[in-house]
């Protein structure tokens, strides 16, 4: 995903070249789907969110001003599409925000238990679903997309320091849920977190 290549394709796509537009979407498609998949937590919602994200990219391309990199812009759209999908479906439980308040101590993480749990993809989905979206999004952008903290801050419109702490707490919550799937996470709630 080299920047200059993206810029070139963006330019051609904006001039109406459908092949360039297809190349551009193809280049980012897997990551868009990955973000949507990890944020929504299931294949069906991820498929819908990915489609919406692609359409938003195509429709928004004339307004893309190049102030951020194209990939950052794409990740922002993908994240928002996934959050919109969750909002529409209203069926993915997330942990109460009370669980995420500063000072709340996550249970100790046990290495072997986490290692066993991460090999189970369903366990990972279930554990991620228990991590509030405001923490889940930066973790996904970091661990799936390999964005650095500054890029994540740009995508989510957050200060870099907040990104750092949210990734840390999000990972801690995820590790705790993987180590102890049934315990200490509080009742799931449908409460939505603000859009990052």
């Amino acid at each position: 995903m080299a920047g200059p290549d993206d810029d070139h394709l963006v330019s051609r796509a904006r001039e109406g070249d459908p092949a360039a537009l297809d190349d551009l979407l193809r280049r980012h498609h897997d990551r868009i789907h990955g973000v949507c998949r990890r944020l929504t937590g299931n294949d069906a919602d991820a498929l819908d969110a990915t489609q919406e994200a692609l359409i938003s990219i195509v429709r928004g391309l004339p307004r893309f001003d190049g102030r951020s990199s194209f990939s950052t812009w794409v990740y922002r759209i993908a994240t928002n599409a996934a959050l919109d999908e969750l909002r529409r479906r209203r069926r993915r439980p997330v942990t109460s925000l009370d669980d995420a308040r500063p000072g709340r101590r996550e249970p100790a993480v046990s290495g072997p238990s986490v290692g066993e749990a991460v090999s189970d993809r369903l366990a990972v989905d279930a554990a991620l679903a228990q991590v509030p979206l405001e923490f889940r999004a930066p973790v996904v952008l970091r661990d799936l997309c390999q964005l650095d903290y500054a890029e994540i801050a740009e995508v989510l419109d957050l200060p870099a320091g907040t990104v750092r702490s949210r990734i840390s707490r999000g990972r801690a919550m995820l590790a705790a849920r993987l180590a102890d799937p049934g315990g200490n996470s509080g009742p799931p709630t449908d409460r939505r977190t603000p859009r990052p």
Binding site: G16, P18, L21, D22, L25, R26, H29, D30, H33, G34, R37, R38, D43, L47, T50, Q51, L54, I55, I57, V58, R59, P62, P102, G103, R105, E106, P107, A108, V109, S110, G111, P112, V114, G115, A117, V118, R121, V124, D125, L128, V139, V140, R142, D143, L144, Q146, D148, Y149, R164, S165, I167, S168, R169, R171, A172, L174, A175, L178
Partner: protein, 254 residues
């Protein structure tokens, strides 16, 4: 394996270290502390789990999604103009010229009517009043490889064309005040190709009402008039597309 619950600060330190986002001081602190290094290993396993373990899209799914997205490409819509305004009355010279043109047209019509009786039987398809094209019905190519459509004239800018379209009759596009209203011949296939392109991206458009040609900044364009479905009060969209590429340049809705 760790024995004591980590503090928030420890977790943040280990997490930042894992991501290569720790300061040199923080790195030194982590590397000097076996417990923090153990936290880093635990978080590494968690991070790895997030990045893997779900089924990627098949190439077929991906291609289908991209096709749908590209087909949904919108047309740039020109900003709405203020309410229709009457054009100022023309100057006396222009008014006089218009009167002369109308008078000449009347004379010509009288002459044409006098000559028309002998040719009525074969003039059905190409009458001067055939200012709109109908959607091709399938086997009609021999009837009209060329089709007469109104020509709206030349416009130096998008705003000038937009202003003319705001005043036009959307059902025919023929009577556009202030523009030449001569007919021009255009290939029906070319019109249909461009219309198909437009409709593919805008399924909400209904059956075409009319089509016209024009020149915008020197380039030949089509102007399509379509009703927009399910709009109350009714809305008509006038879409301007390049004749060569069918690329939609802009559209207005009235």
């Amino acid at each position: 394996m760790t024995d004591q619950p980590p503090t928030d600060q420890d977790l943040e330190l280990a997490s930042a270290y894992l991501d290569g986002e720790a300061t040199p001081d923080e790195r030194a602190r982590v590397e000097a502390d076996p417990q923090l290094l153990a936290r880093v290993d635990e978080l590494r396993a968690v991070a790895g789990a997030v990045g893997t373990g779900f089924t990627p899209l098949t190439e077929e799914q991906a291609a289908s999604q991209r096709r749908r997205a590209i087909a949904a490409k919108p047309i740039p819509t020109a900003p709405p103009l203020p309410a229709r305004r009457r054009t100022p009355l023309p100057s006396p010279l222009i008014a006089a010229a218009v009167v002369v043109v109308i008078a000449l047209a009347g004379i010509w019509l009288v002459i044409a009517a006098g000559n028309g009786s002998s040719s009525d039987k074969d003039s059905s398809g190409a009458s001067t009043g055939a200012t709109t094209t109908q959607r091709s019905g399938g086997g009609a190519t021999s009837e009209a490889t060329t089709t007469e459509v109104p020509d709206l004239g030349s416009f130096p800018t998008r705003n000038a064309l937009t202003a003319a379209l705001q005043r036009s009759d959307v059902t025919t596009l023929a009577a556009t005040p202030g523009t030449a209203n001569a007919t021009a011949k255009a290939a029906r296939l070319s019109i249909d190709r461009c219309e198909a392109t437009i409709e593919a991206g805008q399924p909400e458009l209904g059956e075409r009402l009319a089509v016209a040609t024009a020149r915008l900044d020197g380039s030949a364009v089509y102007v399509f008039s379509h009703p927009v479905r399910d709009k109350q009060p009714p809305v008509t969209q006038l879409t301007v597309a390049d004749q060569q590429t069918c690329r939609v340049l802009f559209a207005i809705q009235r």
